[in-house]
């Protein structure tokens, strides 16, 4: 069975500082990993995905994520946080290349303080 853990319900960071939102996963096969962001009263927006290859994946809005197979982690990062990055972030996984459903974590609320 697949699962995703986002250990932090809330992350606070000052504007301009680097941010990290943590995600660990468990799958039986190869992991295919995704990050989505949800702004208030909106749906989930796709940020980036890891399929294979480079462990550092770059996505939208300056975000990137680092895949670490030995630690089964896929942490989301940004070198310099903006107030507009404040939102709810979801990590998701699936273990097939097909169009199977995503398994999501509980979400982490990011607050960037000016």
């Amino acid at each position: 069975a697949q699962s995703v853990a986002q250990p932090e319900d809330q992350v606070n960071v000052a504007e301009g500082n680097p941010l990290t939102v943590k995600c660990t996963y468990s799958v039986s096969g190869n992991p295919y990993l995704f990050w989505y962001v949800q702004y208030p009263n909106r749906g989930l927006q796709f940020l980036l995905k890891y399929i294979t290859g480079d462990n550092l994946v770059k996505g939208s809005y300056g975000f990137e994520a680092e895949f670490n197979k030995s630690q089964t982690s896929f942490h989301l990062k940004k070198p310099s946080a903006l107030v507009s990055d404040s939102a709810l972030y979801f990590c998701a996984v699936r273990d097939t290349v097909g169009n199977t459903p995503l398994v999501f974590g509980k979400g982490t609320r990011l607050s960037v303080i000016a």
Partner: protein, 114 residues
Amino acid sequence: EAGVTQFPSHSVIEKGQTVTLRCDPISGHDNLYWYRRVMGKEIKFLLHFVKESKQDESGMPNNRFLAERTGGTYSTLKVQPAELEDSGVYFCASSHSGILQPQHFGDGTRLSIL
């Protein structure tokens, strides 16, 4: 292109009543998914359509939930009769077929059962 649209954005009904949620996927997307997020918990998969066929409905909680996708275009999710535990945000997502195509989400329907 227009995104995934969901209607209504918010529905408040009494226990025992019936509610129907609608999702219009992105034009040309064969895959359509329904997910649900109960307050503060993970986003959980409900079911997956490929065109008009139910590919996977393993996440449907019980037989009070009925999903249809007549003609392979828009989809409806009916809850009859609604119970208190059905409250949450119902998301619809769609994607092209193909390897690891990202799912595009609608803004969700917030369902409140009183």
